[in-house]
Structures are given as structure tokens and as C-alpha cells.
């Protein structure tokens, strides 16, 4: 079954998935961002690189041009709901606590979770603990009183050999995606169902699993369709201007929340360079300046 993942099979899965996801979407209130929303993204490589390309954020930014919405991307390559990538010099559970603290500092009104892909390599045996830990993560962030939004993992593609067929993971990913939908459903939270996106048939990745700019653009387009986000009368040139500002802002914010040399700035060698840690906060006004610009640019 895994090897024989042919078109008709994928079509069948797709149909089932769409059916499931529409139920969960119907259960929750329609997805929208409100004026003064502060959206925080958490997740792994998909979320991290979205920050670098900015298409999804652009789609969400431009959908409500009259509303002031800010985004903070905390994606980290290879991450899981256990914060496996966030321990740095400490074990992951300490990195997990730091992540909670950081989210708290950012005062989000919306938290978007993008987990499940890396966890899916633990297979059927890992599904239950994934859900349990994801629930814990949600519970730990509940005191923020933010609205939760869930991204399901993306569907993997079959790349050109000799790259291994990443799509063999899809049957397992389907189960993890479904677990995310159910988790969202019982929390009455909306799902952006990346696994069920109606994407063009052309290959969007080179390695089967990670998207480049074209991939993110296509995903953003499909998400617009899925969430029924109306185009707001911006030209593609205007949208591209906004996107470039968003990418720039995300880079500045990256230097703010995950600065290089943290060992010396805030870590165990801060007695040597801790005086330079003042620079970290100096990225804040730079981030905010761009946000002012984006708010101007997105007015149709």
C-alpha cells in the first residue's frame, strides 16, 4: 500500500480528508483575524521558512486591509510539540518553558500551531503521545486567552530519484493531520488544512518535503481559497511590495528573538558580552517601523 501510492489512491485519501476537514471547519466559527490582533506562529521548518518567504503572512495581512494585525513567527527547524529544537544548551523541556515565556511576552491574541510532520516519523506508536503533548502545549498556552488556529502538516511529494520518495510518509501524515483536526475540533478552533489543500499538480518542492518561494505562493493561493479570503483589490505588484516588507520584518524579528551569539549575549558567557545584549531590543523599533509601512501599503 505504501509503495503503491498511485494517483487513484491519493485521490481517494484526498476525498476522505476533505470530507473530514470540512466537518471540523463547519464546527468552528469562520476563520478571521480581527483588528489589533497579534498573531504568533509556532512550528517547525514549514513555519520557519514561511517567515523567510512570507506568502501566507501576506495573504492574511491583505485579507483585512482595514485592520491592524501584527505577526510574529517563532518557527524553528526540526521542532516538535516537545520543543525538541529549542533546548539549546538545556534539555528540550527547558526550551519548551522558554518558548512559553516568549509567547507570553509577545501578548498574542491568536496562536497558530504548525506541528505534526516531524512527529509523524514516530509512526503509529507515536501518535498518542503526540496528541497528549500537543494538548499539553495548548493547555499551557491557554492562560494567554488567545484564539488558537491549527495548521495540519503539508502533504509530501514524490521527488525526482535518487531522492527518496518522501510521499511514502503521507499515509502516516494523514493520521497525524487527522489528529490535529480532531484536536482543533474539540477546542472549537479553526484549521488551516494544509494537508487537504487543492494545490497545482506540478511539483512544488525539490526534495519532496520543503517548499521554495513558488511553493509558498501556491500554498498561500490555495489557503485563500480554502478560507474564502476575498482578494482586496491590490495589484500583484502591491502585494509583492508588501511581501518584501514582511520578509524584511521577519528577518529583523528573527534577530530579535533568536539572535546569533546568544551564548555571549544572554547565555552562560554573558559576563563577557552581556553589555551588547542591549542591542537585541533595538530591533523592536525597526520591526515596528516596517509594520507601519505595511499598514500603509495594504490600504487598497
Amino acid at each position: 500500500m505504501i509503495r503503491g501510492f498511485d494517483r487513484s489512491f491519493s485521490f481517494l485519501t484526498f476525498a476522505v480528508v476533505v470530507a473530514l476537514s470540512s466537518t471540523s471547519l463547519i464546527a468552528a466559527e469562520p476563520f478571521q483575524l480581527k483588528d489589533q490582533d497579534r498573531v504568533v506562529f509556532l512550528g517547525a521548518t514549514f513555519v520557519e521558512r514561511e517567515g523567510q518567504f512570507g506568502y501566507l503572512e501576506t495573504a492574511l495581512t491583505t485579507a483585512w486591509p482595514d485592520r491592524q494585525i501584527t505577526f510574529r513567527n517563532l518557527g524553528w527547524s526540526g521542532d516538535t510539540v516537545w520543543a525538541d529544537s529549542r533546548g539549546i544548551f538545556d534539555p528540550p523541556h527547558v526550551g519548551y518553558q522558554r518558548m512559553l515565556e516568549l509567547v507570553k511576552e509577545l501578548k498574542p491574541t491568536v496562536i497558530v500551531f504548525g506541528y505534526g510532520q516531524n512527529e509523524s516519523y514516530a509512526g503509529d506508536a507515536g501518535l498518542e503521545s503526540f496528541v497528549r503533548q500537543f494538548e499539553k502545549l495548548c493547555d499551557d498556552l491557554k492562560p494567554m486567552n488567545a484564539r488558537f488556529v491549527f495548521l495540519t502538516p503539508t502533504r509530501l511529494e514524490r521527488p525526482v530519484p535518487p531522492l527518496p520518495d518522501a510521499s511514502r510518509q503521507n499515509s502516516m501524515l494523514a493520521k497525524y493531520a487527522e489528529a490535529v483536526r480532531q484536536l482543533a475540533s474539540h477546542r472549537d478552533a479553526p484549521v488551516i488544512d494544509l494537508f487537504a489543500l487543492d494545490l497545482p499538480s506540478a511539483k512544488l518542492t525539490e526534495n519532496g518535503m520543503h517548499f521554495g518561494p513558488d511553493g509558498y505562493a501556491a500554498i498561500a493561493q490555495a489557503v485563500r481559497k480554502q478560507l474564502k479570503l476575498e482578494p482586496r483589490g491590490l495589484t500583484s505588484v502591491q502585494e509583492e511590495q508588501i511581501r518584501q516588507q514582511i520578509v524584511e520584518k521577519n528577518m529583523l524579528f528573527f534577530h530579535r528573538w533568536r539572535p546569533q551569539n546568544i551564548t555571549y549575549l544572554t547565555g552562560f558567557r554573558k559576563h563577557e558580552q552581556g553589555n551588547n545584549a542591549v542591542e537585541i531590543a533595538q530591533f523592536d523599533p525597526l520591526v515596528e517601523q516596517i509594520e507601519v509601512k505595511v499598514n500603509e501599503l495594504k490600504k487598497p
Partner: protein, 1165 residues
């Protein structure tokens, strides 16, 4: 921070003028932090390249020219050539830290020498907008670039020389320290990209095979076309050098390690690794730090340069050369004269590659200061704009015609694989790889088939062919099998490494590896051991462990240890189910079980033992393994056997020691009645008694209290045995213990004993111990015991505050207070209350007088102008300063602090002064202490060596390696430096000036440069105790030296120049007696570790007044000796007639022509 401590009353009047001057200076230094950055700017040299070039001193027969310089390039970090012969440079101006508002615009530059005159005449910016790119390797139609968190592939698709397409290949590399981020890219012989990361980096990389994580330093191995990503080797601090020799063996250098060239065993771990209990070491312990690495060869270079390694002492402004030779399964690396040395402070050679013309190209990062630990990110002395590429050629030798490797047909390119230049072979392989399988496959088949078997290089050519198949990933079992049967062992070893790569396609793989395991060459065997770990298969385990039948050198032993562990998931369950037992061979079984550290295997070991299947020679080892891994009942069996009447005393002691350790490390003790230990407590063997006492304490055997109390009080026994007994009494832990220890503490005339008793009482009754200690301090004389007692309070949770409380309104002698303060400030802990209490009780005040930057500048000037390094070295070597107790120079001395071999070439004078006076201001990488609190109320401080899955390994201030089980650790926090404050408060100002001047010369060209000669740096000298005097009078020197028992040897160190001054040789002054003339004589000894047997050359030079013994047997002294020595450690002992000899003693190793011997002096503390 506490300041320095001075007697209150003598603040002004009690010191001589010099000392007062020093105090004045010291006080200033304490507050000189922020002006630090501004000082010494006047030392920045004129950046003109010719000014720099003029200062270069080259190896005989070589010359250097400028290939490229700023403004055409800036801050080159890595250089790599491409098949067109162009030089790619990763360059960063942003380094070390992007500033708010700064645009990250670092570049990948391509330098081209169009007309072939050895000077670059075209620079192209291939990619920009990068953030601290630390590596570039051209390939796959573009270039791979390390861009902070990412590996990016850039391509120029329209041919304008500038990248127009980029793709993130991998992401999630850590950036915790920008001089550690992803670096040192290299294409391997196998077509894979090797990439390094350094110690502070934590990487989490998504691949189609799952997430790969590496939390610390190591070398990654990556196949871009399949995205297979593995860790090739782990560890090191900054592996800024990695190169392959012509047979595909890997070598690495560490830009913050001190072990020189590292031979890299695939999958092995090296110093500073995380999570691995056992490591391998570099080939040149005591080296300065090296950056960059290249193996050079080819027609342009002289014969004796073929296969040499070139690396950089970037702190000492030197380009260094090593000759590598076989040593068993591994290698030896011998340093030669420098290729370049210079006093120019901005010459920072950091990368090296051999070019298409056979010349050696050096990337010069050009910076008067280095690194960020020591220097502020925003220090204006940081150079962000300069950089050079130097080109070194051999005078009078033709350069190699630059090969044409692009636009060439596969058949011609394949012939390039026969080239004598590794540049051409390597880049032809890249060019062929990029042509692709379809174009190259058929030509490759033809090329291999047409190789001439009579060519002396045939086997190497054939191996290159095999590597080409591997690069293209076209399995070729027939060729592989032929390579495995090569006559050249290096070719067989390389072939073995290819086997697991195609394991799915090679039905005969294990049969081939079976032959390789039995190969007569140890490297082939060692490669086979590692290759077998890739086969998760019982047969692979059985084959690998066959290697245990032969004696294994350190690399092969490590390889087998690791393979045994990696295959444990396969063989261990089968062993436990009695389905597998390594062909019934107990030696193999024991090796595997010890490696896997598995208690589940213990019943199998015991059943072998009970069935009488264990050869006598292995019985003790087997029982020791059971004791180390077994449960309570199994330990009881060992206990009974240990005490059985027919057991050898040495075995009894060994087994009891292991049983005691099992309690401490695993909390397991033998079950049932242990009263039988009484016999061992009464044993005549000191070793048995000692081990038994230890067990009684560990197991808290109240029934033995009487016996151990008697031992504790028996003044006929050694202090060590009595101390162990007191420790055991303390562990019994009742009021009777308090009473006994209290009694010994107050009544024993031996300070070592009374002080030890008090120290033990601290854990039992700290309040009482504190009061008694103050009383004890008033009478004590022994500084070491005083320090020990203070340490006991530091190591007890809450102890420092209790002692501080007891000290209120009390007095202690000034000297005791100084020792105590030194102990506290050197503990890595912040104990302000205790420091305050000790200062008051000792009448000492800390002086914090503000000094202006100008006055600091005056001190620095005085050091530079008046400092006498010769006197400074003598001060450094003074016993009371204890410098060598913690710091080695070139590997000889303590390891608590950094090796100072090249400190003068990297640290500015002001930094050195600060480091001595304010040890906590800037602490070297890897020398931060951690303070660990354990569940039994102990507080332990040390330098973290590494952490395994089960234990934390620390080096404490006494230079001991401590193993602390992780499950006993309650809290672990960062501590400060272990260097005590106030160490130099007895020095005069001029002495301090001399000392700093000496340190500032270390590693600079001149008399204090790192010595490349293989001399003895660490000696031992015989202590003139009463017992030894008696033996000397009664017997001959030869008999004394031949029977080492009861002699006490203490460490002594050669001066930087390589000889030991006679005043550091302890002397025996013997009166005329029984016809023997009076004499004054000292004894020195050192150890030689021979790893490949053969004639070893010892150069003694001036032999006046020396006599010599090798392994206790007299040998005639000559200026030069060729000694045939077998594998193992050998002791060389000299007697030195101190009446006739005037010259210091020097001993150097040299190579005897035609001898395969490999030997090294044992260094260390």
C-alpha cells in the same frame, strides 16, 4: 566581585615601595573594564600587504607572493577551488554580530587568475546579501554556502558569474556563537559533502529520513542528491580543519583544542563531545590551536613534502607543517619547521588549499585581535575590511600546468584521476560527477578495464575508479572485490569503507568483511570493525568481535568498543536468550558486554563461569565486569569469590574496589551477610585493607565499626589508609562516628589526620565542625590541609554560611585567612558572606582603589619596556605560585586552566594582567566551572569535561576527573573561574611585570615560541624521603631504581626551551660513608609510550654527570642512543650528578633511519 585581600594594618606602611606600587596598580586594574577596548590601538599595524609580506620568515626554499588582497576581498573565512581553477571565498564584514539597522550583505567572491601569473586579476561577487557565510564549496552547477542557520545552494543560470537562483538545502543549524556556525566544507572521495560545526552549536535538520540532530561539535556527512545526512564524527571545540589523505583517511584540526592533528575514525568521538562516554584524542597533545588543514602533494613540491599536512597556528601567526606516518591502525604526526612565521600581529592564517598550479594558498583573515570571548563585539580594533590570499611556491621548481577539467570529455577527465596532484584528481572527480552517470558510466567502465596492472600506482588508480563509482552511486561489486584484494593495505582499508555504502547490493559483503577482520594490517581490520556496525545483523556482530582475539591499539580498540555498542540491539537480546554467544569465545563476549555496559548479560557471564568455561587469565576480568554491571545477588557471588582463600590478593583488592564503586555509582550492593569483610580488614595487604575499608563505608556495615575505628586511630598506618577508615566511619553516620571523629580532630598530633577528621565532621555536624575548625586553624601550619578543610565546607550544602556564622567575632591567623580566601575565590562559587567573614577574622581588607586608564597604560608600557621574560619564567615556575598545578605549557602541567603554550600570541598584555588579577573577568572557552548539587547534600565544582547519557564528567580544582551520575544531580548552575584571586599578591611590582612579560612572549616567534622538537616536557623527580635515603645508603642506585616500590616521585617540568633546570631536580646530599665518596645527586625520570615497535632514537646531547636506566636496567649514556623498544610504556631514568653537571637536562626523540618505531613522551601533570 571580591577584590584583593591585604592585611589592614599593612595597607600603607607594611610593604616596601615596590609592593606598594604594585598594590596601587592592582587596585586600578579592578575598575579598568570599559576602557579596555580602547587600549593598544596604537599597536595596529599599517595594513599595506607589502608591509605584512616583508615580515614573513619562510621555510628554506620557499617564497610567497600576494595572490589577492583588500579591497578586492575582505575577511576571507573559507577558501575552496573549483574545477576551473578559480578560488571561491566566503567573506564576512558583519562578523561577529549584526548590529540593529545594519544590512547583512556578506559575500561569496570568486577570484580568478586569468593569465596564470599567480596573481588574481578578476574578482566576481557571486552572491551577496548573506549573513556571516562561514563556508563555500563549489559544486552541482553552483556553490554550497553556509549561511548561518542554513546550507544554501546558489546557481548562476545565465552565465554572468552572479548567482540568480538560490535554494535552501538544509536548515536548522545553530548560531549560538558565530565563530562556531556551520563551516569547513569539503568534498569527500565518496562524493559526499563534509561539513563541520563547533561545540556551542545545536542543530536540528529535517530530512526525508526524519530529523537529524547534533548538539555540540562534529563533522556532518551529506549526500545532496539523496539528502542522506549523517554524523561522521563527533566532538572537538572548533574543528576548523578537515582534510583527506590520498587514501581517503580523514584528519582534523581544532581551533580551540590542544591536541594538534586528529586522526578521524569514522563515527568516533573526540574531546568536548556530548553524550558519549569514551573519546579518542589528537596525535599531538600540548599543541597550540590549529585552524585549517590541507594535505599537499604533487610535482611542484619537493619529495619530502609529499602528503604533508599544512595547518595554521593562527594565534602565533604561523603556517605549520606536519609529516604523517603509519602507527598501527592510526597515524603519528610530527611537526616540522614552520612554512611561514612572522611577528606581524595581524597575520591570521585560517584556511589553506593547494591550487591548480601546485602552489599553496593561504587565507589570511588579517586581524590584530581574534575571537569574541576576549574582546567586545564592538571593539574598534576588530578589523572588518581587510583580508589577503597568499600564494607560496617552492623556489626554483616549476609550477604545475593548470589542468583543463571543464568542457573536457569523460575519457580525458578520467585520466586525470591518475594525476600526481590531488587537486587534479579531486576536481576531475567533481567534473565527472557533474557530467552525470549517463555520460560517465560507460567511459568509466572502459577506463577501469584498461588500467595497467604493472603501473606502480595501479592500485591507487583502481581505487580512484572505485571512488568514482561511489560518487556516481553505481554499485560495482567486482571492482570493489578487486580493491579489497589489493596488495597495498591503504587501498584495502579504503575499499572496506565503501562496502556498507552498497550493502543492499552486495550479497557477499559480510564474507568480504570476514576477510578484512582477519587482515594482517591493523587499519584494514579497524575499518572492517567500523564497517560491520552498518550491518544490523548477528553475523556482523560475531565477525566484528573476532578482532578482540588480537591485541588492539587505541584506535582499533575504540572502533570495536563503538561497534559493539552500536550492534548491541542485535546481539544482546540473542545473547540473553542463549541463541548467540560469540562462538563461545569468552574474550569476545567480555569485550562486547563491557562495551555495551549491559546488566542483562551478567547471567550469561556467570553461567560461563560456573560451567568452568572461562580461561584463568580472564576470570578476574569477568568477575570485575559482573561487579560493575550485576544486581545485588550477582554482586554477592563476586563478594564471596573475592574473599575465597585461594583468590590472589591483587584480585581481591580489584574486586572489592569494583564492588565499592557499584554502590556509589549505581547504588547496588551485595545481598546477604557481608560480615566476611572482616578478614579483608585484617589483611596484610595494604591494597586489600584499603578496598575493604572503602566497602565498609559504602555499605554502612555497622558490624565492622570496631575494626575500622581501630584502623582510623592506628598511627602506625599511612595517612591514606587512616583517612579512608575515617571516611568509612563518617559514612556509618551515628553519634558514635561524631564522637570518634571529634576525638581524632582534637587529639591527633598529625595535622593531616586531624584536619581530615574535621573535614569529615563537616558533613555530619557542620555547626560543631565550624567551631572546632576555628580553633584548629589557630594552631595549624599545613596550607594544603587548611585548604582541604575549607573545601569541605564549600562542598557541604549550606556549609559556607555556617562557617561564616561561626567566624563572627572570631579571629584566624592572617596566613590561614589568605589560604582560605584563595580556596573560596578559586572554587568557582560566589560566597560573599564567607569571604567577608574570613576577611574580618583574618584582619584583611579588600582594596578597591580607582585607577585611571592612564595608569593602567603605564603598567602595560612597563611590561613591554622593562619586563624580563627570563626572570618571568623563573617566577612562573616558583612552587609557591602554583601556576603549573593548573596550567600546562605545551601539554606539561595541570589541565584545570588553559594550556598557555601560545597565550602571548593571542592575548593582549592588558588581558593577561586582567586574567591574573581578576580571573573572572574573561574566562576561556571550555574553562567555565559548573556548580553541581547532589541529592546527598554535596556541592561539587569543576570544569565540565563532557556529559554522557548517565554521567557528568568534571575536572575539579585538584585536576581530578570526577564522574557524577546524572540521577544524583539535583541542580547544576554555572560557576565562575577556578583561578583564585590574590595568587600574585606576594609579588613585587617588578616581579609582576616580569611574569606578564614572560606570558606575553609565549607562542610568539623567538625563544618562547611553541617548540616543535619532541622533547620531554614533563619529568618526575625523586623525593628525598627518609626511607629513600636509607635505601640509597644500603643498596645501589640500580637496585633503588629497579624496585620502584615505596619511592615517591613528584612532577617537574622542562622550561619552555625544552630542558629542565637543575634547581628543579630534588637532591640527595650523601655524606662520605663506607668508602663511598660524598655526593649530591638527583633523579629524573620520564615515560615513553611506544605504539609501533622498533628502534627509538634518544638524543641526550651533553651527557656530563648523567647515568641512565631504561625500564630499571642500566644503559650506557651517549649523546645519541638507538634503542629497540617493544610496544608499551617505558621508563627512562637519569641520575644527575649535581656536583659536576651544570647544564640543564634535555632529552629528545628522533627518528632512526629505517625504523618503523612510533613513540611519544608521556606528558600531562
Amino acid at each position: 566581585m571580591p577584590g584583593l585581600f591585604f592585611k589592614r594594618s599593612s595597607l600603607v606602611s607594611g610593604f616596601d615601595m615596590n609592593r606598594a606600587g604594585l598594590l596601587f596598580a592592582l587596585g586600578f586594574l579592578l575598575l579598568a573594564q570599559n576602557v579596555y577596548a580602547q587600549r593598544e590601538l596604537k599597536d595596529i599595524p599599517i595594513p599595506h600587504p607589502e608591509e605584512e609580506r616583508k615580515t614573513f620568515v619562510l621555510a628554506d626554499g620557499f617564497e610567497v607572493n600576494l595572490f589577492a588582497a583588500d579591497p578586492k576581498l575582505h575577511k576571507p573565512i573559507q577558501i575552496n577551488f573549483d574545477p576551473q581553477g578559480r578560488l571561491w571565498v566566503a567573506a564576512s564584514e558583519v562578523y561577529p554580530q549584526i548590529a540593529p539597522g545594519q544590512k547583512a550583505n556578506d559575500k561569496i567572491l570568486v577570484l580568478e587568475d586569468v593569465d596564470g601569473d599567480g596573481v588574481a586579476d578578476k574578482t566576481t561577487v557571486f552572491a551577496d546579501g548573506l549573513l556571516i557565510p562561514t563556508a563555500v564549496e563549489p559544486g552541482d552547477g553552483g556553490a554550497y554556502v553556509a549561511n548561518s542557520t542554513e546550507l544554501v545552494h546558489f546557481q548562476d543560470t545565465d552565465g554572468d558569474g552572479k548567482a540568480d537562483r538560490s535554494r535552501i538545502v538544509l536548515s536548522g543549524f545553530g548560531t549560538e556563537d558565530t565563530h562556531h556556525i556551520l563551516h569547513t566544507f569539503r568534498w569527500g572521495m565518496d562524493g559526499m559533502l563534509y561539513m563541520n560545526q563547533s561545540i556551542y552549536i545545536h542543530s536540528h535538520i529535517e530530512t526525508p529520513y526524519g530529523v537529524k540532530r547534533l548538539n555540540a561539535g562534529g563533522i556532518w556527512q551529506f549526500r545532496p542528491e539523496t539528502m542522506q545526512l549523517n554524523v561522521f564524527a563527533r566532538g572537538w571545540v572548533n574543528t576548523w580543519g578537515h582534510a583527506f589523505d590520498r587514501w581517503g583517511q580523514s584528519f582534523a584540526t581544532d581551533g580551540a583544542g590542544g591536541e594538534g592533528i586528529n586522526y578521524v575514525v569514522p563515527g568516533a568521538s573526540y574531546p568536548a563531545v556530548y553524550g558519549v562516554p569514551r573519546i579518542l584524542h589528537g596525535l599531538n597533545p600540548g599543541s597550540p590551536k590549529y585552524c585549517g588543514l590541507e594535505v599537499v602533494d604533487g610535482r611542484h613540491l619537493p619529495d619530502d613534502w609529499q602528503g604533508n599536512l599544512i595547518t595554521h597556528d593562527f594565534r602565533g601567526h604561523r603556517v605549520c607543517r606536519f609529516v604523517v606516518s603509519d602507527d598501527g591502525s592510526g597515524f603519528a604526526a610530527r611537526q616540522q619547521a614552520d612554512l611561514i612565521s612572522t611577528p606581524h600581529v595581524a597575520f591570521r592564517p585560517i584556511d589553506v588549499k593547494q591550487g591548480p598550479d601546485g602552489a599553496i594558498y593561504i587565507a589570511d583573515w588579517y586581524n590584530p585581535i581574534i575571537q569574541h570571548g576576549e574582546v567586545d563585539f564592538r571593539d574598534p580594533r576588530r578589523d572588518h575590511t581587510h583580508g589577503r590570499i597568499w600564494r607560496i611556491t617552492a623556489k626554483g621548481r616549476k609550477t604545475v600546468p593548470r589542468p583543463k577539467l571543464v568542457g573536457t570529455d569523460p575519457a580525458t577527465l578520467l585520466d586525470s584521476l591518475k594525476s600526481p596532484e590531488s587537486y587534479e584528481r579531486q576536481h576531475a572527480k567533481r567534473a565527472l560527477k557533474e557530467l552525470g552517470t549517463d555520460k560517465v558510466g560507460p567511459a568509466l567502465d572502459k577506463w577501469v578495464a584498461s588500467l595497467d596492472a604493472k603501473d606502480p600506482q595501479f592500485e591507487h588508480h583502481r581505487l580512484e575508479g572505485l571512488w568514482m563509482y561511489q560518487s556516481l552511486d553505481i554499485p560495482n561489486p567486482a571492482l570493489l572485490e578487486a580493491v579489497l584484494k589489493s596488495k597495498t593495505p591503504q587501498a584495502r582499508a579504503a575499499g572496506v569503507r565503501v562496502v556498507p555504502h552498497w550493502k543492499e547490493q552486495l550479497p557477499a559483503a559480510l564474507t568480504w568483511l570476514e576477510a578484512a577482520i582477519a587482515d594482517e594490517h591493523p587499519r584494514v581490520q579497524s575499518e572492517a570493525i567500523r564497517a560491520l556496525s552498518e550491518f544490523q545483523d548477528l553475523r556482523a556482530a560475531a565477525l566484528a568481535l573476532r578482532a578482540a582475539d588480537r591485541p588492539l591499539d587505541q584506535y582499533a580498540d575504540y572502533a570495536l568498543w563503538q561497534t559493539s555498542r552500536e550492534l548491541a540491539p542485535v546481539w544482546l537480546p540473542a545473547l540473553v536468550d542463549h541463541k548467540f554467544d560469540f562462538d563461545g569465545n569468552v574474550g569476545r563476549l567480555l569485550f562486547a558486554v563491557k562495551a555495551a555496559e549491559s546488566g542483562a548479560a551478567v547471567p550469561v557471564l556467570l553461567s560461563k563461569f560456573k560451567e568452568g568455561k572461562v580461561p584463568a587469565a580472564l576470570q578476574e576480568q569477568l568477575l570485575e565486569t559482573v561487579a560493575a554491571l550485576g544486581n545485588a545477588d550477582q554482586l554477592k557471588l563476586v563478594f564471596d569469590l573475592a574473599l575465597a582463600p585461594d583468590t590472589q590478593l591483587e584480585s581481591t583488592a580489584t574486586l572489592l574496589r569494583t564492588l565499592g564503586n557499584a554502590k556509589r555509582s549505581r547504588n547496588v550492593q551485595p545481598s546477604g551477610d557481608l560480615a566476611g569483610i572482616a578478614g579483608a580488614l585484617k589483611s596484610d595487604s595494604a591494597a586489600v585493607r584499603f578496598a575493604a575499608v572503602d566497602c565498609v563505608g559504602a555499605w554502612k556495615l555497622e558490624s565492622q565499626r570496631g575494626l575500622i575505628s581501630a584502623i582510623a586511630q592506628d598511627n602506625q598506618l599511612t595517612p591514606a589508609t587512616r583517612s579512608a577508615a575515617m571516611a568509612a566511619v563518617a559514612q556509618l553516620g551515628t553519634s558514635a562516628s561524631h564522637e570518634l571523629l571529634g576525638k581524632i580532630a582534637t587529639s591527633d598530633p598529625n595535622e593531616v589526620i586531624s584536619g581530615t577528621a574535621l573535614g569529615l565532621l563537616v558533613a555530619l555536624d557542620p555547626g560543631r565542625a565550624a567551631k572546632m575548625s576555628i580553633e584548629w586553624f589557630s594552631k595549624s601550619k599545613d596550607a594544603a590541609v587548611q585548604a582541604h578543610l575549607i573545601t569541605a565546607f564549600l562542598q557541604h550544602k549550606g556549609g559556607p554560611d555556617i562557617l561564616a556564622g561561626a567566624l563572627a567575632e572570631q579571629q584566624v591567623p592572617e596566613d590561614v585567612a589568605k589560604i582560605a580566601l584563595r580556596t573560596v575565590t578559586g572554587s568557582g562559587r560566589q560566597e560573599a558572606k564567607l569571604i567577608d567573614a574570613l576577611s574580618k577574622a583574618g584582619g584583611i581588607v579588600s582594596m578597591a582603589k580607582v585607577l585611571s586608564p592612564e595608569e593602567m597604560a603605564t603598567l602595560v608600557t612597563a611590561i613591554k619596556e622593562q619586563g624580563q621574560p627570563v626572570r618571568g619564567e623563573q617566577i612562573f615556575r616558583r612552587a609557591e605560585l602554583n601556576c603549573l598545578k593548573c596550567h600546562a605549557i605545551g601539554g606539561a602541567g595541570g589541565k584545570v586552566g588553559p594550556d598557555l603554550v601560545s597565550i602571548g600570541s593571542s592575548a593582549q598584555v592588558d588581558y593577561l594582567v586582567d586574567s591574573i588579577l581578576q580571573p573572572n573577568k574573561a574566562v576561556k572557552e571550555g574553562y567555565h566551572s559548573v556548580v553541581v548539587q547532589t541529592d546527598d547534600g554535596k556541592v561539587i565544582t569543576g570544569i565540565k569535561l563532557r556529559q554522557t547519557d548517565s554521567d557528568l564528567l568534571l575536572r575539579d580544582v585538584e585536576d581530578r576527573e570526577l564522574t557524577i551520575p546524572l540521577n544524583k544531580i539535583e541542580e547544576q548552575v554555572a560557576g565562575s573561574s577556578l583561578m583564585p584571586v590574590g595568587l600574585v599578591d606576594k609579588l613585587t611590582r617588578s616581579e609582576l611585570i616580569d611574569l606578564v612579560r614572560f606570558l606575553s612572549e609565549l607562542g610568539k616567534p623567538g625563544p618562547y615560541a611553541a617548540v616543535t622538537a619532541r622533547v620531554v616536557r614533563r619529568w618526575e623527580t625523586l623525593q628525598p624521603t627518609n626511607e629513600t635515603y636509607t635505601r640509597m645508603y644500603r643498596t645501589s642506585d640500580t637496585q633503588v631504581i629497579g624496585d620502584d616500590r615505596g619511592l615517591s616521585w613528584v612532577p617537574a617540568y622542562s622550561a619552555v626551551a625544552g630542558a629542565i633546570p637543575l634547581q628543579d631536580v630534588l637532591d640527595f646530599t650523601m655524606k662520605e660513608r663506607l668508602g663511598e665518596a660524598a655526593r649530591k645527586v638527583g633523579f629524573l625520570r620520564c615515560r615513553i609510550n611506544v605504539t609501533t615497535a622498533g628502534a627509538v632514537g634518544l638524543a641526550i646531547g651533553d651527557a656530563q654527570g648523567l647515568q641512565l636506566w631504561i625500564d630499571g636496567k642500566p644503559v650506557d649514556v651517549r649523546e645519541k642512543l638507538d634503542l629497540p623498544l617493544p610496544i608499551g610504556e617505558h621508563i627512562v631514568t637519569f641520575s644527575v650528578n649535581l656536583l659536576t653537571r651544570k647544564a640543564p637536562v634535555r632529552l629528545e626523540l628522533y627518528d632512526v633511519a629505517g625504523s618503523p618505531a612510533q613513540a611519544q613522551f608521556v606528558s600531562g601533570k
